[in-house]
Amino acid sequence: MFFLQSLLSGILTGGVYALAGIGMSLVFGVMNISNFAHGDLMMLGMYLAYFAFTLLHIDPYLSLLLIIPTAFLFGFILEKVFIHRIINHLHQNQILLTIGLGLIMSNTALLAFTSDPKILTTSYSSSAVHILGGISLSVPLLLSFVITCGIIGILFIFLSKTTTGLALWATSQNREAAQLMGINVAKMSAIAFGLGTSLAATAGALIAPTYYIHPMVGHTFLLKAFTICVLGGLGSVVGAGVGGVVIGVVESMSSTYLSSDWKDVVVFIIFLAVLLLRPQGLFGKKGEQ
């Protein structure tokens, strides 16, 4: 029973991690940029969900309909104003820029929303469904997981069936060749960054009802998202999805069978092992940078 409880709880938590990881991976795949502002974009998503709930009285899951387009637009503008300037620059410059943007976001949030943690309490915040005699699944986590699966499904159809999606895919495979084939790669970058931002904000909004909201919360999730991306293979959407669930389950299992104190140690041991044995990540292609 412990095993099942811990497995299911890990998969559900992992689903939200996966969503955060996928956004980061998508941006890396298309633009070849590690977005270190990703965690702070998640934090903004959390605050959006919080204010939609407290000021507009919209359920955090319904507020996604507002958050996704808002975040897309924000990401699109960020790319047009800042990110596209450094797209062909050295990696360290890109990292500095995105870290800088992240710092501006988190500290602006600190000024605007203060350092008091906010708690989003819905009527179902601490409710659970009980299955198979004794296994309890958190209702908000379950909802988040279902929505995550839906979003990943839509994203997959978008990437494999639509013209824009295929153009994005092509850009991520080979930027120069895509440009030669007449794909507007500058526009693709802006779309990819917009998508990455809305995935980050969605992950933030999905985790908000089961977590607390604080301007500095981005750092915790940035580290998770980055680990997930590298584990799954940088740039691989499927890899990030699997990576997220793997990390969720490993965390959950190690808290059950070792101690909650040790779960990060186990996660990073696995992370190092993957880097040593399969440097391109679980789903990354060999020779990719």
Binding site: S6, S115, S126, S138, T210, Y212, T220, S252, S255, S259
Partner: protein, 381 residues
């Protein structure tokens, strides 16, 4: 002639501070105004500011020099050294955090300037025999002992610990284990966790399987809410939840009535305790800052009152030290006396209070002589 004039002016300038010294007494205040602990630091700032205003209204001439340590022991020590060497204060109130207070305490005998610690809980601070360190609040071991004494009459048999892997968490649980052993409680689960994680369910499921009578929790701010939510989700229902301070004593936690109801916690002060002036202090504080005072605010207020009152009767650090050692007070923190007992030096044997959240409100329930309500046991959902 010109040289003589210059030397007279120079002599006058040197003498001036000596003349000025005769006027107000100088007190230092080290606090965490910025940094991680800024939220709690603000409560201390407000409490101290109220005390200062009152003392000035009574006509006591006092100059308070405030220093920020940002929650960092290094800065706290630098602030203390600046206060005693450059500003020439005769006494210092603060710092807030245990780690800062501990470091400053270790140097106070070197500078011979009394330090009055208002709210830091680490036992060591008053256990090293420092002559110049005084502490108003009760040390960490009292958190667990008062909680267990409060439920002892209901004869619980087993206990589980769930706590943050921090200095405060680990040391509080260590003393709790000693107290539990004395009471003959059997430990059935021990879960230490890393702060800020989204999922504590696996740890809580283990605790649930052990089916303890008591669950003893040590967590900060928002983690407390997260833990209790997830405890409700997985259906953890012991006879009592004992929250050792911090996250279980905030107004934000109490407002989450669905999960906070009947949680028992230990605190240094409450606004419904029958100590002289406590209710009045709470009322004035609320009027001034439009929020409830935390125990930190009350500790800082009382510490500042004691420091200024005593300092106004003494004009040197040595006399202030003697005054603190000899004096006794009875204010919003109850009876205060800096005594030597059980290995402590200059420690106020402060009676901690046990409070229980009843429909979103903290009610003092133990010890009986300080409380109006009775403890609800066992816990029911």
């Amino acid at each position: 002639m010109k040289n003589k004039f210059v030397s007279i002016v120079a002599a006058a300038l040197v003498a001036l501070p000596l003349l000025a010294h005769a006027a107000p007494i100088k007190i230092g205040f080290i606090n965490s105004i910025t940094g991680k602990e800024a939220q709690i630091g603000e409560n201390l700032t407000n409490g101290a500011a109220m005390a200062l205003e009152e003392m000035k209204a009574k006509g006591i001439q006092v100059e308070l020099i405030k220093e920020d340590d940002g929650g960092d022991p290094k800065n706290a020590l630098a602030a203390y050294e600046k206060l005693v060497t450059r500003d020439g204060v005769i006494g210092v109130v603060g710092p807030y955090t245990s780690s800062s207070a501990n470091v400053v305490a270790s140097r106070s005998d070197q500078y011979q300037v009394p330090l009055l610690v208002p709210a830091a809980a680490k036992e060591d601070i008053t256990m090293k025999g420092y002559k110049n360190v005084f502490r108003l609040n009760a040390p960490a071991n009292v958190y667990s002992s008062v909680l267990m004494t409060a439920v002892a009459s209901y004869k619980p048999k087993t206990i589980a610990y769930v706590y943050a892997a921090t200095d405060f968490g680990v040391s509080t649980v260590k003393t709790a284990q000693e107290n539990a052993a004395k009471m003959g409680l059997k430990e059935v689960a021990n879960e230490k966790y890393q702060q800020g994680q989204p999922d504590y369910r696996p740890s809580l499921a283990k605790v649930k399987a052990a089916n303890p009578d008591l669950v003893f929790l040590v967590s900060y701010d928002a983690d407390a809410i997260l833990l209790m939510r997830q405890a409700k989700e997985i259906g953890l229902t012991p006879k009592a939840f004992l929250g050792a301070g911090a996250g279980y004593t905030t107004a934000q936690f109490a407002q989450q009535t669905e999960i906070s109801n009947l949680v028992i916690s230990a605190t240094q002060w409450t606004d419904d305790v029958n100590w002289p002036g406590a209710a009045d202090f709470a009322r004035r504080y609320k009027a001034k800052y439009s929020k409830e005072p935390s125990y930190h605010a009350a500790c800082a207020y009382e510490a500042m009152i004691i420091m200024i009152e005593t300092a106004s009767k003494s004009n040197s650090a040595a006399k202030l030290r003697a005054g603190l050692k000899a004096g006794s007070w009875n204010g919003i923190m109850g009876p205060v006396k800096f005594a030597d007992y059980n290995g402590f030096t200059n420690q106020n044997n402060h009676p901690m209070l046990v409070q229980q959240i009843i429909s979103g409100k903290y009610e003092t329930v133990f010890p009986a002589q300080f409380s109006k309500k009775k403890l609800v046991y066992p816990f029911t959902r």
